[in-house]
Symmetry: C2
Subunit: 212 residues, 2 copies
């Protein structure tokens, strides 16, 4: 499938490389193509484009930008290029400007995912993958043989099912459907404990498993 | 040990009963002793008192009140009755006034635990147990044989160690020390996903296990 990945940081690179490995036709969108030169030399199948070119390329579009930049980047991507498409929002609403730990830029009464959905009403926003580090997003089996959970939130049931299939192709075994997009407040607020766990455990290489 | 439990809802009742079962000398503090009449008939070892009497009784004091009432209740308990004592804060900063899911009354830049600590600087506030339902707090082995995690946050290392010992006596196997009391922001913000997981799973009878 044609995939557009907005954002060329660690998350955008990891998602793009994994999608290409799974034989999707991938373009990664960046403001600064020069910084991807070395990365592209080992990821030759991935095309590089502007945000607008990348959104136009993708049948499915990933928002892998910094949370503080997401709304601007999606605006640059352009409404016609996002119209009716699935937008997989992986961004974290974190403000790093005041040091570590960064603080959340939204409170429990809203989420970045909902802000993106309001700004792009024709897009089908699906929130997922924002609760782990980039490597685990795309190679979940590397942690505890994949015996841990990922969450998914969206208003459009069909879009959610399609993204869940993609997650399975990454290797995800346990996907919890939290409900509509407002449940992204839960996974976004989760970042607060995730950051402290990272500090306490001394590694970001972990996830949570729900036990009953 | 002499224990004072402020709050007579499900959490206060569960903590009081479990502490009494473990042979502590327990008083439960309430505004309305009458409502505890039936409960006390099967929990005869637990004394009932006012908030001030209960705080005075306890060598360790538990805040098991609603988050929206906690600061008021601790004020009624009285500074001299809390002075230098460990205050185990189990409260959840949730506002139920606008229906379900309730929303958080603090944002990521503060926590109810820190508010309590600021209001009672001589107390040793320890945040823990607020991330699961009452039954699991005191009988953690009933879920997945106890193979899941509880978190603890406090500024005073000695107080934190003493509360960790108490958690072990409840049956907790895996206690993660998140750090100072500001890390309670993490466990309090966690309530946002916890509430959505409760909705998605159809039960509050679950917890999370950290896997690496």
């Amino acid at each position: 499938m044609k995939m557009g990945v907005l954002g060329s940081g660690m998350v955008g690179q990891a998602i793009s490389a994994r999608l290409a490995e799974l034989d999707h036709d991938v373009m990664i969108g960046t403001r600064n193509a020069a910084k991807l030169k070395e990365w592209q030399s080992i990821n030759r199948k991935v095309k590089i484009g502007s945000f607008a070119e990348t959104a136009a390329h993708g049948g499915m579009v990933f928002n892998a930008t910094l949370g503080t930049a997401s709304l601007d980047v999606l605006k640059m991507a352009g409404e016609p290029n996002l119209n009716s498409k699935i937008v997989v929002d992986i961004s974290n609403p974190l403000d790093f400007s005041k040091g570590f730990p960064p603080s959340l830029t939204v409170s429990d009464t809203d989420s970045l995912a909902e802000q993106i959905q309001r700004a792009h009403p024709s897009a089908k926003v699906v929130k997922t993958l924002n609760t782990i580090i980039a490597r685990i997003m795309v190679y979940p089996r590397e942690v505890a043989d994949g015996d841990h959970h990922i969450f998914i939130s969206a208003n459009d049931a069909g879009a959610k099912a399609q993204v869940a299939e993609l997650l399975k192709s990454f290797g995800w075994l346990h996907i919890i459907d939290l409900g509509d997009l407002s449940t992204a407040r839960g996974t976004e607020m989760y970042l607060s404990i995730w950051l402290r766990l990272w500090g306490a455990l001394g590694t970001g290489n972990f996830n949570i498993k729900i036990v009953k």
